[in-house]
């Protein structure tokens, strides 16, 4: 469904991705692990065009998204959830979720409202419809952000460290919403340091270091029998 072929990305002279190859199949859950600065966020941001790549190709459902038209289709069908939520601070939780359906898809306001109300209920935020993001906890904000993404009825969602900015006691509520979304068959690419989540949800784990994919495999393969020294030392560090 999403395919990266030999992707290279640099910021000026500083190359941050080297020949990345990655395929995400329909309904597949891919977790990307790796130390800070290894290029995990950059991979996600290249997929939906928040960053431009220097060489290689990214394809979505067979078509290269380096063209504007294909990128527009990808952005309609592939959502993103950010580490720092990026909710619209001047709109209520409900309005945040309604914004995409109304202004991107042209959905009628009352339909969008119904959809947004249902989605907020699904992420456990009934009663918070009229709260502004600034009045919500981090965990609540991230759940609104997930609902905002779901409101576009995406085929895939990219998660960039969705729980890293949260207080430890709020991580669980966000992960359980993500597991629910996963169970419904959503394709997901998740950058996270939550090994428990990776083991439970991932079909495949990709380990990255210094802008390269070091190894790829099932959770058992990567977490229990890592082949590469860098994977081993990374895991021993975060499992400590």
């Amino acid at each position: 469904m999403i395919e990266l072929n030999q992707v290279n990305k640099s910021y000026g002279k500083h190359q941050v991705l080297f020949d990345i190859n990655l395929t995400i199949a329909k309904r597949e859950k891919v977790v990307i692990l790796g130390p800070s600065g290894s290029g995990k966020s950059t991979v996600l941001r290249c997929i939906n065009g928040l960053e431009t790549i220097q060489s290689g190709d990214i394809r979505y459902e067979g078509a290269s998204v380096l063209g504007d038209k294909a990128m527009r289709k990808l952005r309609l069908e592939v959502g993103m959830v950010f580490q720092r939520f990026h909710l619209f601070p001047h709109r209520t939780a409900l309005e945040n979720v309604m914004e995409g359906p109304i202004w991107v898809k042209g959905m009628k306001k009352h339909e969008a409202k119904e959809l947004a109300t249902d989605l907020l209920a699904k992420v456990g935020l009934s009663g918070k419809e009229d709260s502004y993001p600034g009045k919500l906890s981090g965990g609540q904000q991230q759940r609104v952000a997930i609902a905002r993404s779901l409101a576009m009825q995406p085929k895939a969602i990219l998660f960039d460290e969705p729980t890293s900015a949260l207080d430890p006691e709020l991580v669980g509520e966000v992960l359980s919403v993500m597991k629910e979304v996963a169970a419904e068959g959503m394709s997901m690419v998740v950058v996270t340091h939550e090994i428990g989540f990776a083991r439970e949800v991932a079909d495949r784990i990709v380990f990255m270091d210094q802008g390269k994919v070091i190894e790829t495999g099932t959770p058992d393969e990567i977490l229990d029998r890592p082949q590469h020294v860098r994977t081993q030392s990374f895991l021993s560090r975060i499992l400590k």
């Binding site: 928040l50 950010f82 619209f88 991107v104 600034g134 993404s149």
Partner: protein, 220 residues
């Protein structure tokens, strides 16, 4: 000579007429300047470099030269090239271009003050740049833009006294004509000062209300 405001009271209609001209000049050039400034600010933050270049050239010239010189070029200079304007047109055009250059900078800094994550979130939702601007970036930028914008508008109202030098009889210039027949400089110019103060105060009151209305549902 003792102060005596009663001498100039009969000239009130003259002052008011001048004040009305100042209001017309200011309102027109503020409106045009605002439009120019919004376009300019959007150009400055555009991804298209020729638009940025044009906007940069514009603000460079109009912020870097005195308003008075700009007015004189428009009114006294352009006729030499065969372009003639009435004093009112030249006055409004000069003030609008000048105000627009400052508003361009204000709009630009307002737009860039909005967290980059906001436009990224909008893009990730599939919003086009224009939808993102109207729904996401603009509403947040306005809060940053309004205070300096009000300052700029006050400057423009005060600067309108300069168009008296391209022969428009606005508030400041009415003073001269009243002094000629009364020799009451102090009284005349204090009355004029108070009239400017009334105009700028009205603007500040409107701005306060606007700001209050907008911060009603601010982030915590």
């Amino acid at each position: 000579m003792k102060l005596d405001y009663s001498v100039i009271m009969p000239f009130m209609p003259v002052f008011l007429e001048g004040a009305w001209m100042t209001v017309k000049l200011s309102v027109l050039s503020l409106a045009l300047g605002l439009v120019l400034g919004i376009i300019g600010g959007l150009c400055k933050t555009s991804a298209i470099w020729p638009l940025r270049a044009v906007a940069n050239l514009y603000t460079w010239i109009f912020r870097g030269t005195p308003l008075l010189v700009q007015l004189f070029i428009l009114y006294f200079g352009l006729p030499q090239l065969g372009i003639t304007m009435g004093p009112f047109q030249a006055g409004v055009l000069g003030m609008a271009l000048n105000t627009g250059a400052y508003v361009t900078e204000i709009v630009r800094s307002g737009l860039t003050a909005v967290d980059r994550g906001q436009s990224e979130a909008a893009s990730a939702l599939g919003m086009s740049r224009s939808v993102a601007l109207f729904r996401v970036i603009g509403p947040q930028a306005i809060k940053v833009i309004i205070p300096p914008l009000v300052n700029q508008f006050i400057m423009t109202i005060k600067n309108s006294s300069m168009v008296s030098l391209v022969t428009i009889t606005e508030l400041f210039r009415t003073g001269e004509s009243v002094i000629v027949s009364t020799f009451r400089s102090f009284e005349v110019y204090t009355v004029i000062a108070i009239m400017y103060l009334i105009m700028t105060s009205l603007l500040m009151i409107v701005a306060k209300q606007l700001e209050k209305g907008m911060s009603a549902h601010d982030r915590a």
